[in-house]
């Protein structure tokens, strides 16, 4: 696959890994020793997935650690909003359309997948345009599209609403759960218990919003940030670039993913977002609580396409089970395997919290791909505390 395979080249990986080792040594020397590992946060769920899927975290020296950020919009869906989805889907006139990964997220009593098994008309789509096509094909049914994601996906949803409007489609609406990245990053940076040395910026969000918007991270918060692509070489290269900034004492916004990310973002995409959406004052994140201005809602102009205005939506709030430590993992304060219920009460099979639900959630990715330390394969495996493969096999 062109423009993909080249960025998975293992030979380039070895060279980069060596350079990363050299940089870490240099930083270590400059600082007269490192008290704790250098912590780089990858914001995006897609990066978390890449890291675990390719085993990139094992390739780094022990002095560099990834901290998995909250950039997984499926994981941070509040339970109350999932309940609202299910309630909408259970209406007999409704065809509820959604992306695949959202179907498994548990609400306070059930998930969309289970509701589908119980008879709700829930249909998986690849694109919001497919949902609009269903609306056109079934004029006697109400089609609702479950819109979620950061700015990456917002333009697509916005464009779909614009098309519905232009086409006078009366039986299509959007249940909007889109969230924005900048307030999220600010909330993380303002977090008292966090010690981050740099960021891997979200590559695909940035192709929409550009890279200039991250300047505040470098200038106000004095942390280097490299906007990163998603292939394993992109991730490693970006880690190298962040470490190089640290070694050279720089705090800048760098763009490793320049082949896709323009500095100014995408004007047409931003325009579509502007036309259809406006900020919500508060939006709740599962595991993190409410973050100001982190959500968007549909403008009054397009109220006819707002499922929240068309249908009754309870919008109740639920707290996670007491044992759940998702909030701490999301902020990077603890690692997935350090959560007390990781791999025991909370598994992908029976998730307690948000991060075990979607395969990009830090805990799910860690559990599925890395719950056993595979970096030293001779002799006995080092099993991470909190995971118990033998007991889990008995469960399966």
């Amino acid at each position: 696959m062109k423009y993909v395979d080249e960025f998975r080249d293992p030979d380039r990986a070895r060279a980069l890994t060596l350079e990363i080792h050299r940089l870490v040594e240099r930083i270590d020397r400059t600082r007269g020793g490192l008290e704790r590992p250098l912590q780089i946060m990858e914001v995006c769920g897609g990066h978390t997935h890449s890291i675990f899927r390719y085993g990139i975290h094992q390739m780094l020296p022990p002095e560099v650690e990834f901290v998995h950020g909250p950039g997984c919009p499926v994981c941070v869906l509040p339970m109350g909003r999932v309940d609202d989805c299910v309630a909408l889907a259970e209406r007999p006139e409704v065809i509820f359309t959604t992306f695949g990964d959202a179907m498994r997220v548990p609400g306070s009593r059930t998930s969309l997948l289970k509701a589908k098994a119980d008879g709700a008309d829930v249909r998986m789509v690849y694109s919001p345009l497919d949902a609009l096509a269903i609306a056109r094909a079934t004029p006697h049914r109400e089609v609702i599209f479950f819109g979620l994601g950061f700015e990456t996906t917002m333009p697509s949803t916005a464009m779909t609403v614009l098309q519905a409007h232009a086409g006078h489609i009366e039986n299509f609406s959007l249940f909007c759960n889109h969230i924005t990245i900048i307030p999220t990053l600010k909330a993380i940076l303002d977090s008292a218990d966090l010690r981050l040395d740099g960021f891997l910026g979200p590559g695909h969000v940035s192709m929409v919003i550009g890279t200039r918007v991250y300047r505040f991270i470098a200038e106000q918060y004095r942390r280097p940030i490299t906007v990163a692509g998603f292939e394993p070489l992109d991730v490693l290269h970006s880690v190298f670039m962040v470490l190089r900034q640290i070694a050279e004492g720089r705090c800048e916004v760098e763009n490793q993913y320049a082949r896709i990310v323009p500095e100014d973002g995408n004007a047409q995409a931003l325009s579509a977002i502007q036309q259809v959406f406006e900020p919500r004052e508060f939006f709740e994140w599962r595991g993190l609580g409410s973050i100001e201005h982190s959500g968007v809602r549909i403008r009054d102009t397009f109220a006819a396409f707002d499922a929240e205005r068309k249908f009754p939506v309870a919008n109740l709030q639920f707290s996670d089970p007491q044992a759940c430590q998702c909030g701490e993992v999301l902020k990077g304060v603890i690692k997935p395997h350090q959560c007390k219920v990781f791999g025991t009460a909370c598994t992908p099979d029976r998730p307690l919290g948000a991060l075990m639900v979607s395969s990009e959630g830090a805990c799910a990715a860690h559990y599925r791909y890395a719950r056993i330390d595979t970096s030293a394969l001779t002799g006995r495996a080092a099993v991470r505390p909190g995971s118990a493969p033998a007991a889990l096999r008995a469960q399966a």
Partner: protein, 103 residues
């Protein structure tokens, strides 16, 4: 939210509605190219271009020059190393045993 893959536009299906046929490794799909066209670059001019495909939309044109530039940078980083050290690292990281039965 992040899942996007480079694909090549192989034809325009409906220029008025910005629908193009994109191909990823032999798999084809109609996608909406509204975000990557404008007056200077109309749909017809996009055939052959590489784009980033996400949920049925082309979200960005792939800048082939930048791609080559990034690959060149990575190549340079590799050449900075002398054979010896890279060889050591290769041996150290390769604990996958070779019984002769794996390629």
């Amino acid at each position: 939210m992040c899942l996007g893959i480079p694909g090549q536009i192989i034809g325009i299906h409906d220029a008025v509605n910005n629908l193009a046929l994109v191909e990823v490794s032999g798999v084809r799909r109609l996608i909406n190219i509204a975000f990557i066209v404008d007056e200077a670059l109309p749909p017809a001019a996009c055939v052959g271009d590489w784009v980033l495909v996400h949920v049925g939309f082309a979200m960005s044109r792939l800048d082939e020059a930048e791609a080559m530039h990034t690959l060149a940078l990575l190549r340079e980083l590799g050449e900075m190393d002398e054979a010896g050290e890279l060889g050591d690292l290769r041996n150290a990281t390769d604990t996958f045993s070779a019984t002769g039965s794996t390629p």
